[in-house]
Subunit: 370 residues, 4 copies
């Protein structure tokens, strides 16, 4: 019952703090024989890496992954794959001001209450830096997915920054790689750049909504009742720092619909059932339908801001706090690759589960239609 692990058959344990010697992930359950190389994992880490543009923290971390075990002669052996990332830019002096005060909206205070240990160096284990380990682990998951289910594609992107949403009529996945926000709407990218510049200069921060979409999935993934695909995705996304809400398909908006409007009508296509719409986000009863799986999550604004806020010290004395240092004005930007990472891990896990529980190869279903 490791509290730092997730997954059933593909199980990832992350470890490490923001300013310790290193952080990483112990990846257990990667099938044997998968081609695994550090360069492929590094590719995904580089996407998440801070300091790449003016909208993310200027902390400079090489974030170089080292594979310590589980790979021999370029292939996974079926034994645990240990991925280590050394921390290199540990300017802990930046955090001096927060050693005694608690940041409102930050886990400082609850970690102190729970553990009685105050690691003021950048949030310790509660730092978003922990997500680098997830992205590395998901690099392995992606390689395994590539071998087992090469048709699966995962795309994460921002659909809202602060109060500004995208225009779904301009939705264009090709735009994702063209702007610093991974937003599939060129106009939004431009508008948001101006908006975020202003925020950054004012020393404030803002929230965001990220959407992650997986296509090419087989029907039948998900393990009712308490290992449903959407249950596991909700847990996976909610475990990301600063996430306050998770939606599948229509999400919260489903509440406003009538049953007749919400029904994704079913037709017979050449390769199996097809649907008139995807209100369900590709999941019914916790099991994938074969449509795109669509998850959204809301990231609250960073609590480390320059605007002074009222707080208390460890001694219980009233105080005011301003958090200097290198922080992201919209931490949601860097949550995009993390959301993709969690999707990759959950999908691989359920593909392996499906093999164990039901047998057969990926995409084989027990109940044939037509």
């Amino acid at each position: 019952m490791s509290m730092n692990s997730f997954g059933h058959l593909f199980r990832v344990t992350t470890w490490g703090e923001s300013h310790g010697p290193a952080l990483g992930a112990t990846v257990d359950g990667c099938p044997p024989g998968v081609e695994v190389d550090a360069a492929s994992i590094q590719h995904w880490l580089d996407r998440r890496k801070p300091g790449q543009n003016k909208y993310t923290t200027q902390r400079r971390e090489a974030d170089e992954v080292e594979i310590l075990s589980g790979v021999y002669d370029g292939r996974s052996t079926g034994t645990p794959i240990q991925l280590m990332i050394r921390n290199t830019d540990q300017r802990s002096k930046d955090y001096g001001d927060i050693a005694e005060k608690f940041r409102p909206g930050h886990a400082d205070i609850t970690y102190w209450q729970k553990y009685g240990i105050r690691d003021p160096r950048g949030g310790g284990r509660s730092s978003a830096r922990e997500t680098a380990a997830r992205v590395a682990a998901a690099g392995v998951a992606r390689l395994a997915l590539g071998a087992l289910a090469p048709q699966v594609k995962i795309s994460g992107y921002m659909v809202q920054m602060g109060p500004h949403g995208i225009d779904r009529n301009r939705f264009d996945l090709a735009q994702i790689e063209e702007n610093p926000f991974w937003v599939p709407d060129a106009q939004a990218a431009s508008d948001w750049a101006d908006y975020l510049d202003g925020l950054r200069k004012s020393g404030d921060s803002v929230g965001a909504v990220i959407e992650v979409r997986a296509s090419g999935l087989p029907a039948g993934l998900g393990a009712p009742i308490y290992g449903k695909l959407d249950t596991d995705l909700a847990a996976a996304m909610m475990s990301i720092n600063a996430v306050k809400g998770v939606e599948i398909g229509d999400g919260m908006a489903a509440a406003a619909l009538t049953g007749s409007a919400n029904a994704d009508e079913i037709f017979m296509g050449a390769d199996g059932p097809e649907y008139s719409s995807n209100h369900a986000g590709g999941i019914l009863g916790g099991i994938s339908t074969g449509q795109d799986v669509i998850v959204r999550f809301a990231v609250k604004p960073t609590s480390s801001i320059l605007t002074p806020r009222a707080t208390i010290t460890k001694a219980g004395t009233p105080a005011e706090i301003i958090t200097k240092g290198r922080h992201d004005p919209c931490v949601g930007i860097r949550a995009v690759p993390v959301g993709e990472a969690m999707m990759a891990c959950v999908l691989l896990d359920h593909i392996l589960l499906q093999r164990g529980q039901i047998g057969g190869t990926v995409g084989e279903t027990r109940g044939k239609i037509g």
Copy 2:
């Protein structure tokens, strides 16, 4: 790795189908010495029971719980508590029409694809009837909470039905027991009654949003990184039938806030830290702050409706489907006690975890403030 279990130290496994002989819950991890009696559990089951007013399915189930093990001389023994509810109203003839066709928006099709077994009797394991077992198990959790943390109060209520939300200015928890919707707003109760009457007559259904609030919690509950209190709550709520979104505190709306607006400022109160607001929903970094824990979830409209929808049969033939039978026009109503149940189970579980990991009695924290 039971896929029909949830919880860490307080672990519940539900079993049973809509129209089998019985359903129930195996409750493992209830501390010894707790007064457990069937009548107390029955109280909560009766709240969830269908057929109590015209807005819920007219299926008549006694839903009588029988305690088969784990209780001796009126007290829990520390061994598994088996709770069984016999199914008594199994009019399976009502479901004849759907034996061959799949209902759009229902788990019929995915269960068929995954398992290759079609149990047409009321949805089988995917039926909302499974939640009776959760409510029974939570009856045990509530009794244990009453013994360990009597100051904890859990309240569930509807805050939105279809497009109609409550007016937070009229929010009054006392109203919850006064109307069939458990809505804390007398005016909304009246408006919704008219709205739902119309929907019911038209043979359609509608979604809802439920909020569950726990007060009186100690700080320090939650097990980062992958057993966070909000992670476990998100999974718990998303596992409920028809749920498509889960929010903690401000939820999806947190995305629109600036960091300065989102910060719950901290003051020193007589009994510890107090906060100026509760955007966080009582959880920071996955750990409870001691404020009210607030969770919301959206329930999609029932897919079993009288409005004809396009579908296919198991043979892949196009068809049209109308679902007759006894269905809820707003299944969200009956989700209220289920949401409360999941909250009770998750909270007890984390109280036990906190004891094991950190030691001390409930409410003791490692890090003192002031």
Copy 3:
């Protein structure tokens, strides 16, 4: 982390006490589509049932299993199978004498110390009656094995009663069904009958060694390092009441061997590798070789005896105890079907795990030889 569950993908949770209303097993992870019927499960329960001859407790229990869920139209649905056995012969008056005193060598005292609850009715949860639930669950496992791996055969038998072992030169599996001890040695059966008669009359009891053998297994089962096939078998057997030792292959005697004597030499047979001997008990590095898997376990003598022993009461007062009632002079006899049951559950579990981790059908291995 249910403490009343075992298994990974095929997961069994047992519940119930010796003298409560019922006991049973929640069986999660049976693959869908397996033919499951109560009569087949009853067959195995009847083998374990007490009161069948003069060497086992004269308690009369019908031990009738009822399937409450998870089976539709004669086949497993992939959802939890609930198996319930009502307790019918609850002569709890027999146990009056032990309500205040602790039996030396019995779990009375430790259950009291741990839980602070004294259920004097036949040992409560610590009673060997709990194993009926395992045998029922294993009935499901056997049916699934029959479908997935029909060549697998499991045989349990006694190889030692008290100081008297069998003669391996007379080993004949056909004898197992011919005597009340399931001993594969006709001469031993006769000798033991005399021996046990004497013991029973003297009011004493005696221990035993049981061997369980599985043949027809594929190579490749077992999940190093901490889910090794032998690790899981050791845990499974040690969890049986009164077991004090577990051996794989040569077991404790392996300590006395040299490496050259212990090496099972390898030859190439028509269907794959063959071995000159089986010191390893069919398991190397925690993974099955394809040879017979051989496990032995020692059962200590029943502590409920007529010979007076010194003890204390709950109040700490010195006392002498004689346990009247209906007890087995050699509880090891009834442990034979329980050992078989645990073997069946562990093997099915590892076959499912192997499918999930490695893919392919039962018996397919990743690494081919020859």
Copy 4:
């Protein structure tokens, strides 16, 4: 469901291969505030380290542990503690001969069959080198035990080498540190030295029996039915390389006893119940009695020997094999610290579990006697 993890609340995941860059352990669940330092962990690693005398492999490994996370300012923070040991002496050329042939009695062949990957460099993940990670993790467990339950003492020692057992009349724990075999019998130490010299020269190897004893334990540890203290110990010991049998208390010899002889009679002592004997090995019904917990396990002889044995190649061709290289003539010697390590981890885990399930501090029991 990590297959490379063990423990419930104190959970250890080991990773790494014999000849990869590094190996280590991810330790999750160490309570916060425990003083943890590399030197203390190194102390235990040094005991296990090979090459310390002529009776263990001459491989020269520094086995230096590095703490990568979970410790701040000399104390555990409650987050995962990552322990890494770099492999430095990787003379993989020594293993050239076994790249194509399987060693009889070794996991070579089953790893190949299961995973289809052949890592000929010293056995890869199946190497006894993996146990260094366990010893490191147990170093953390010992430090936590020292803080929570300082009266607990753990002693491991050899009681049999090949056919030669110790004389219990000469049993003297003080001797353990005085000889290379950790044997509590000076005469045996001397005799075994001669015996093992002969074996080593002949190129053969031999098995051993190790006993591990824990004193100073509270009553009440162990979580029936499937997390019994003896069940977890059996699994822990059986998971060690080359172990073929595990015994608790009298172990296999319990089978030969009568109930009257086996009963550990109970008396009232100054601090609680005392026992006339300890046939039970300190565990009744899976729960600790407060007496010494006594576990023994048999280690088979190393399969890597100079005596030629018949085998086959990956191609299925008959062959003869001699394993040159640096191997232990009695690998059981180095299993002593590993057995101690597993005991420490299991005990800490059950102390934490007991706190979570039952509440109170270490040693408090629910049911008082006297």
